[in-house]
Amino acid sequence: MKNLVIYLEASGSSDALASTARADSARHGRIPQIEERFTPHVLPVMQGATVDFPNEDDVFHNVFSLSSAKAFDLGRYPRGSSKSVTFNRTGTVQVFCHIHGDMSAVVLVLPNPYFVSPDASGHYTLDGVPEGDYTIVGWHERARAVSKRIHVSAGHPATADFNIPVPPGEAAGH
């Protein structure tokens, strides 16, 4: 499901999760500007990841953020150009375009690579999660984040169902 992110938080030290192999794929992200929209709108990344903001429109864009996790202003740049931002602090980064007020994106900077977006039917799967107790969070930018305690043991898939109240226009998911 779009704009919906499910991620894990370690209840103890986060190093164990961050050091896993799957972290590589989460260390890089890309949010191009296509037809005056940031695509995708929500992009979860791992702490320290670099996200590219390529301009693929015919017009200039000016990508910036006021969020405390990462405040930046990439300045105006034309089609074909791309600028990158590295997000070292966890948190929600609201990304806007100075030129086009309707354009917005959210870069969700997470401490570990265990995050996923549910599919169109609302199902998600997080695999490779080490054995242990975790907090699993359902996040949506218009809804309050929903947290659940979950215990993962080897060879036994754990299930967490979410019912996230999403404002009209957004889909709910499991």
Binding site: H41, F64, S65, L66, S67, S68, G91, T92, Q94, F96, C97, H98, H100, G101, D102, S104, V106, E141, R142, R144, A145, P167, G169
Partner: protein, 795 residues
């Protein structure tokens, strides 16, 4: 005052009246005009206000649109949403960012002056004030505290949730302390999601009111509920405010009249919205009606006062002048009337109104008609008076005529009474005379029979002669009585009175003696009369004897016969024949003149007269259809005037002369019919002694019976018989037998007998009769019947 006005002249009255009427008209016109001005002004104001209301409404709408637009533009600014979005996402993670608030405040402060608004605020997605900014010095008050919940404001609700109900659009009115703000609210949307609301407000205060007043020529009030927020009118009492608050202020609400203090306004509201507390906020436009009307009417009043006074004066003067000019001919007419009005001589008879007004002409015409009518009446009255005078004369004449007629009538009545008296006496005398006659006939008859047998020269003969003489005198008396009572039977013939007089004149002279001269006069062509000659001679004799007695010392007697009628009239034209016997004697006193015809009335010495002479005259004249009058005066002589009716012939029957005394004889058969035994016996004896065959009967029936068995030569019958009368007997007899000689006898002529007029051929024998008379009559009748048959005339 009233009486003074009553006494005032017509001109003054008319003037005052016209002035009053004009003043009333002016006042009415003025008040109606001012009312009309008032109404027109009100209507004009209402129109104007309605227009102003609309335009102000539009202006307000434009302003709020503008505000809206400004808010929308401001709301479109991305940075505001970036900040809000960022703030929201970070609030969710529990780290408030004061730098974002101040960043937004900074932005609002920058933007606000450019919006034209006085206040700008941003709420979060739940309607709580996130940041607000006010422009200092605009009366918008201080910034609204962060966190103030505006979620109840409908416009905010609508902005945050488009599906929320709101009837005031995106405009609302906010109270911020004493300040009143009209705000336009716009949603802040980010990525299709409403993240908050932006409200741009402008202060509704005195400067707003002032601005509104610039667009409207009148007073402006801004109210919130019953509170006056601002206005160009100083103070409003609570009642007026309540009234304003109670008005229906829906869009296009009608104007109405609102009194404030001494002024009256036409009011029209413009709705600005509803406050959070639900109070409607109105902008009132007040058009000062009183002021406008007085501004319009003041010159009107001045004009009316000026021209009205002028008109009143003019009307009064004009009416007075018109009255004068109208009344002048009337005055002239009145002067004409006072001057004699066509009735006084020397004054004009007619008022010349030819040049006067039609009313005066009409009045004059009426007056002339009246005067003409008066003249006519006067003439009529005079005519009536003269007619009355004439009628009075006629009436006086009539009265005197009537008096005369009445006197004549009284005289006639007196005469009538006298004649009635004579009639009554006559009836009495007649009755007595009839009975006496029979007695005397018997006495005389038997006396004469006895005389025939008496020895000549004996004392018996003398005695019998005395008896017979006395009976003769008695017979004369009864005869006279019968004559007076007109019950004797007349044998009238047509006579020439002159011839009768001439015949007896010598005898009359002898009666008068030598001392009295008799003069006889008779006129020419005298009319004849129908009367009994013997009776007439008796009348003359009686009158002559009476005259002689009135002239004991001698004198003259005139007997005159003349026609009655016009002078010189002959027998044909005469209305009567007069026999006048006039003496020169002592005359008859007036007091006894009426009584001289009464029987036995006499002025002569006892034994000198019978008192029957004039009675006999009266009876004969009356029975002959004549009249007798007396003209006499004491010492001047007396005239007896006898008037007899004329007959239409001239024939005269010659007088019958008596035969010599020798009694005739005969041998014929005589039937005597007499119911009185003594008379029947006397008649039978007398006739038998004369040689006749005599048959006797007591009644007519008896006589007819006897006649059937005998041949009768003479029928001697009494006229009055029981049952059938003498004439009836004659009639019956003649039916059965050839006509004999007829002699009827009677001493009494009653009414039945008067029906008959005896034919000349029937001899009448008056009772009492003497044997000589009887013998002579019988013989004459027998001799006369030799040739001519007898005819009885009668019914």
């Amino acid at each position: 005052m009233r009486t003074a006005l009553d006494r005032a002249s017509l001109g003054v009255k008319l003037g005052v009246f016209s002035a009053l009427v004009t003043a009333a008209v002016v006042l009415i016109a003025l008040s109606s005009l001012s009312l009309q001005v008032r109404n027109t002004t009100r209507a004009r104001f209402a129109d104007e206000l309605a227009r102003s209301q609309r335009s102000l409404q539009q202006l307000e709408e434009g302003k709020s649109d503008q505000l809206q637009l400004a808010a929308s533009i401001v709301g479109k600014a991305p940075s505001m949403r970036y900040i809000l979005e960022t703030w929201r996402s970070e609030t969710a993670t529990g780290t408030p960012r004061a730098d974002l608030v101040s960043m937004l405040e900074e932005q609002l402060r920058d933007v606000l002056p450019r919006t034209g608004g006085d206040m700008l605020l941003v709420t979060d997605e739940r309607g709580r004030v996130f940041v607000s900014q006010s422009r200092s010095g605009t009366g918008a008050g201080t910034s609204i505290a962060r966190g103030t919940d505006l979620a109840t404001v409908p416009a905010v609700q609508l902005a945050l949730d488009p599906s929320a109900p709101s009837d005031s659009g995106h405009v609302a009115v906010l109270r911020n302390g004493p300040a009143l703000l009209q705000v336009a609210v716009q949603p802040l949307v980010s990525g299709g999601v409403t993240v908050g609301a932006l409200a741009l407000g402008r202060t509704l205060d005195s400067s707003y009111v002032a601005a509104a007043q610039k667009r409207f020529d009148g007073e402006v009030l801004l109210t919130s509920g019953s509170d006056v927020v601002a206005g160009t009118i100083a103070a409003l009492d609570s009642a007026t405010r309540a009234r304003l608050a109670a008005r229906d202020t829906a869009a296009g609400a009608p104007t109405f009249t609102l009194p404030i203090g001494d002024e009256e306004y036409v009011a029209a509201p413009v709705s600005l919205g509803v406050t959070t507390q639900g109070a409607p906020v109105q902008l009132w436009m007040l058009a000062p009606l009183t002021r406008a009307v007085s501004a319009l009417t003041a010159p009107l009043y001045r004009g009316f006062a000026l021209y009205g006074t002028f008109a009143v004066l003019l009307a009064g003067l004009g009416a007075a002048f018109a009255a004068r000019s109208v009344l002048r001919p009337f005055h002239q007419f009145v002067a004409f009337l006072r001057g004699g009005a066509g009735s006084t001589p020397g004054m004009p008879q007619r008022f010349d109104a030819s040049t006067a007004a039609v009313e005066v002409r009409s009045l004059n015409q009426s007056f002339e008609v009246l005067m003409d009518s008066l003249r006519d009446r006067r003439r009529e009255l005079e005519q009536r008076t003269s007619e009355l005078a004439a009628a009075n004369v006629v009436l006086t004449d009539e009265i005197s005529e009537r008096t005369r007629v009445e006197a004549a009538l009284a005289e006639s009545e007196q005469q009538l009474r006298q004649s009635q008296k004579l009639e009554a006496i006559g009836t009495l005398a007649g009755g007595i005379a009839h009975d006496f006659n029979n007695l005397i006939t018997v006495i005389s008859g038997y006396g004469q029979l006895a005389l025939m047998h008496a020895e000549k020269g004996s004392a018996t003969e003398d005695d019998l002669k005395q008896v017979i003489e006395a009976s003769h005198r008695a017979a004369t008396l009864t005869h006279q009585l019968l004559a007076f009572s007109r019950k004797q039977v007349l044998q009238p013939t047509v006579l020439d009175l002159a011839e009768v007089v001439d015949n007896v004149a010598p005898m009359l002279q002898r009666v008068l003696g030598e001392q009295v001269e008799l003069r006889v006069h008779h006129g020419e062509s005298l009319a004849r009369v129908r009367a009994d000659r013997g009776q007439l001679e008796q009348v003359l004799l009686n009158l002559v004897v009476n005259a002689r007695d009135a002239m004991p010392d001698g004198g003259s007697l005139e007997v005159r016969v003349q026609n009655v009628g016009e002078a010189g009239s002959d027998w044909r034209s005469a209305t009567g024949v007069q026999l006048v016997v006039r003496d020169s004697g002592s005359g008859i006193p007036a007091d006894i003149r009426d009584r001289v015809f009464e029987p036995f009335f006499t002025t002569k010495e006892v034994g000198k007269g019978t008192g029957l002479g004039l009675s006999t005259v009266y009876g004969i004249v009356r029975q002959s259809g004549g009249t007798i009058e007396i003209e006499s005066a004491t010492g001047m002589g007396t005239s007896f005037i006898i008037t007899l009716p004329p007959v239409d012939e001239q024939a005269v029957v010659a007088g019958v002369l008596d035969d010599p005394m020798d009694l005739p004889r005969g041998e014929e058969c005589i039937l005597v019919v007499e119911d009185e035994d003594s008379v029947r016996i006397l008649a039978r004896r007398t006739l038998v002694e004369r040689g006749y065959r005599v048959l006797v009967a007591r009644t007519a029936e008896e006589a007819l019976e006897i006649a059937r068995g005998a041949s009768i030569d003479l029928l001697l019958s009494d006229i009055v018989l029981p049952k059938l009368s003498g004439p009836q007997l004659v009639e019956r007899y003649l039916r059965e037998h050839p006509a004999p000689a007829l002699v009827l006898m009677s001493g009494y002529a009653d009414d039945r007998l008067a029906q008959y007029e005896l034919d000349a051929s029937i001899t009448f024998l008056r009772k009492p009769f003497t044997p000589a008379m009887l013998a002579r009559v019988v013989r004459n009748s027998l001799d006369a019947v030799q040739g001519s048959p007898l005819v009885l005339h009668g019914e």
